[in-house]
Symmetry: D2
């Protein structure tokens, strides 16, 4: 039930235009029940994180802000988001049914210039963990501070990059290159699948990853199953993402054919049907200089039959399916949002 | 959208039987959206508190445990609740649309042997605050640490008790007596109404209070309106509250005519229709030695017409109406709860 | 025992060069006992705050980051400080013997474009509070969220500015002007003294304030006594503040006669004797375009005799005296600092 | 620089008599610089924990309360300690130079009926970790949630107990027996030493452990060196530990020859010279039914020469030496403590 969000733009965006303001921002997604499919569980209130690159003259490494306070209550997040701009932002809200609430468990994770986050889970992780741990170089084995499957997946990613000849500790001015990152993510999935196979785990894993070196961004939408649907993933691109009507009504503008910014998100940030495109299941999305590339991930879980409809049941049962903009707008009653917003702000400290 | 809960028993109860385990415990209430009427707002994730009396030989004062961590994430709450028993317990989960997240703002509030909590709000509090503040003795004016209308209502209650000749700093071995506490709460409401009138506030205030001196408990269900409904309030009494089926299925047993325990709650803790009784709007409930008394609050907001149906709209718009056990069971599909419970525990760290 | 720090420069500084790195940074000050005069009390571990102005095109208001985590444990502070630059920074570490640990109680406080912090205390505050509260306009009375004397002093400052004809809610592009701010601070002290007199408080108050509108900065070093010394305050100015030797050894460089940056601090950030100047007791320091002006505060606590030596006893008993750079260097053994630093970093998780 | 404390009594003690009130309680130890030998580092402000057994009819498992708030600021700790009694208590304040501040890293650790804490460090832990991890059964490998060497040492202890034929998941009504626990701790040290040897670590490890099954308590004072001194450890036993003079002046009373309670602590809780005995280096202390047994740990680090004086330098450099009661009393000026205490409480919110 976690949600993540990626922004990559030619120009910096004010974080609040991404995280706080849109009607269906990553904050709202987590607690507005009309939008959530899973009504039984607590919310994405188990910590959050934002990672963003600042000017390269300051640092090649991202700035990470994480907290175990629910995002909607974090006054520092609200203050910082209103005063910070960045051309490349990762944001994540976390929900968990097991595992400790701890800053060490908040995404995005980072290592030198690299940043990583995960929406999903490694099935049967307790059975897989020792194999995974033993496969790592010492430095990535020792890097892990928390207790999530996601941080260990990040360790596998770094170790894989290292094996490919790219030391993650040595950032390059123009990054590692999108081809290298894409290969590293694909091999990470391959390694995870091999651990799952060796441990006899047959329950599908949901592996929506996002990784970046500060230049290119790689996102996957992946499930280790031929018949089940993956966790949801959408993207949007255009010239300008702006508030066309007060109250959080944002829209993507598109001028010419050029793209100035790309967003990828577990759920659309707005209810504009035309603005969001579904990323196909078991594919890998690359953002390189604001250009979006999508490749299928062709392995044993690849569905060759284009008309096959994967079952949503499993991903839904884990709360991993976000509503598309059309369905969500219908559910919420888009026209009424402004009024509701006004109503709320008039109430003083309702207990 | 806050929720509160009172337990008063001849015998101590293990806190987890009250707070953690029941299918519709105060924890679950806050985040299970099928039970919530207000789907737009965040949850009761803005802190919580538990107050309980221990052996009188240890102290006449309650032990208070509060936290700004959402109750469902507070590992200390879970640990303590499993190892602590008490014959008189207050519990509160907080939701707020304004005001800081701060331990100082968590209920229950306490002062020497007295404990107090509030579910509702004082309408137009910013307009009323100065009058309220100026009416207080210095010691209660100086006592307030946080920024909630509820803590200031507690200060009015203490000041009122003082005016009646009972110094709140001087606990008595058998308490102040239920008549005194009841009068003090009624006069507190009277004073709040006079501030509201003087400030020209016409929007209704929702004043569900719970107060105790460690012996008697007083609860109100009150709205300063002749036509609107108050925030919901239920009670249950019997001989034994116990889990008759694994998975959090609790039921109230009743042997003979005696009552051994009483619970009062913003929402029923279980789906057993026969176990929960609605407290009438604008009335005051007294628990004295496990006996429940209910008196109407007869003032200008009293409805003499017994067949008049108050409008739920206002309380609902503030998220202050909990579903009764029948309606809630229907919504949740009571039979399926055990299975769902099992499902959840099998999932490892779903992100 | 709080400590504060102000930076105002022609050019932005990286926050970590101010807050984290210097050998005697505001973080180190709080816990290195060789530098502390008061050895009995806990440390400045009761929360901290940083406020900084970003580009005026983003906002005229400062960005505030506060936390109740001790500054030395706040991983977000370390991350943000390394990636954030600003030309005007306030920082504060808090220690308190009473009053709740709460984000609402952390300095700096802000209101629109204005920022404020306090090192010291209002003597007999409980006796003074009601007079103070009653003297305020509603909007400043209602603004206060926490329970510190300092936040109420800020409310008096805002109210005073308002009375002078400057609405704090209406920031001006070039600020309110240093003359206006200076007058407002002086009148704030006057008002506080009048409350103290009316309440018959004779114990001295320590009123080291820092206030800014994003353009000019005003700092006071003040005690309401003719014979006692105020809490310590130092300043340093020059062309460049930089690390001349690895290990946190910073020095102020001075080229020509121009000043490019000014720092004001409860304690010097370095052990360079020539870099820090003591601000005289009961005077007001103004930074306007990197120029420093110091005026005496001439009221009934003014000491006309220039050779009179005020007693340090009172300020010391409250932990309000920081060692000057010479004395501190002697105490610490400056030469050994680098080695110690290295030693520490080699130790893994000493429990 | 961590500190720990064990209480085992025939009768329950009020936690505040142990943790909050004594002049040199575990809270005060951490921040009173006159008592600390290491003046350079931050304090034991990196979280704390208390573990205590309640009535066996409630549970055979201890109740654990941990927090990352500095102990002196934790209002919940103060409230709970004043209302909770227990016959067997562990308490720990944590200081760390590396590693995240996280509840998962707070001691004491527990597993079913067993409780464990550590004062010291495993030298070169990063080099040793993989060997340690690989030596564990899956269940103890998977149990570890945090990132401290201490929690991994606990996992080795549990695994060792399991190897000895005692499943830690199956508590016994009268515990595992002091002989079993003592053997398990000794073998744990043996295993840790073998990992250190295999990794070529020659720097000494400081292994002061405390372990209990709710019945017997085992404590070690140990260093993996023949010439260096271990971290300090003291014990005290008698009939009654009580406050003989207001202001936190506690003393151990001894009637007859019987012992009703035993305390073991990194530093004495009082300045009474006659009340505290030093535990010899490299020995193991057993508390069984209030009887104290001390055995030497005879391995390659055992010093046969009784007049050999181990060097304090290493332990001191790590902040692991507490002052004995005599030296501490001298340093503090015991007579003046009451007055100072009074002074402090009069000061309102010194910032």
């Amino acid at each position: 039930m976690c949600r993540f969000l990626v922004y990559k733009g030619r120009n910096p965006i004010l974080l609040s235009d991404l995280i706080l303001n849109p009607t269906h921002s990553i904050l709202t997604q987590s607690y507005d029940c009309r939008l959530r499919l899973d009504h039984r569980r607590p919310h994405n209130g188990d910590g959050f994180g934002v990672g963003y690159y600042t000017s390269p003259t300051l640092s090649l490494e991202p700035c990470i802000f994480t907290s175990t306070t629910p995002a909607w209550n974090c006054i520092n997040l609200a203050r910082i988001a209103k005063k910070t701009v960045s051309p490349l932002v990762f944001a994540h809200v976390r929900a968990t049914t097991t595992g400790a609430l701890s800053e060490s468990n908040c995404h995005p994770f980072s290592f030198h210039s690299l940043m990583f986050m995960h929406n999903g889970h490694i099935a049967g992780f307790r059975s897989v963990k020792r194999r995974l741990v033993e496969s790592l170089r010492d430095e990535y084995f020792l890097m892990v501070e928390g207790s999530t499957d996601s941080e260990w997946a990040f360790a596998v990613f770094l170790d894989t990059l290292h094996t490919m000849g790219y030391d993650p500790k040595l950032p390059r001015e123009n990054g590692f290159g999108h081809t290298v990152l894409r290969q590293a993510i694909l091999k990470t999935i391959e390694r995870l699948n091999s651990f799952l196979d060796a441990s006899g785990i047959t329950e599908p894993s949901l592996l929506n990853f996002a990784a970046t070196d500060g230049h290119s961004v790689i996102c996957t939408r992946y499930v280790s199953s031929r018949t089940d649907e993956a966790a949801s993933l959408y993207f949007s691109s255009g010239t300008r993402f702006h508030e066309y009507k007060p109250g959080g009504f944002y829209r993507m503008e598109r001028h010419d054919r050029g793209q100035d910014l790309v967003m990828v998100a577990s759920e659309p940030l707005t209810f504009e049907r035309g603005d969001w495109v579904t990323v196909p299941t078991n594919s890998i999305l690359t953002i390189h200089k604001q250009t979006v590339l999508i490749h299928p991930i062709v392995d044993k879980y690849y569905q060759e039959n284009p008309s096959f409809v994967r079952s949503q049941g499993y991903a839904e049962s884990l709360g991993m399916v976000g509503r598309g903009p059309g369905e969500a707008a219908e559910k919420v009653g888009k026209e009424k949002l402004v009024e509701e917003g006004r109503r709320l702000s008039e109430i003083v400290d309702v207990v």
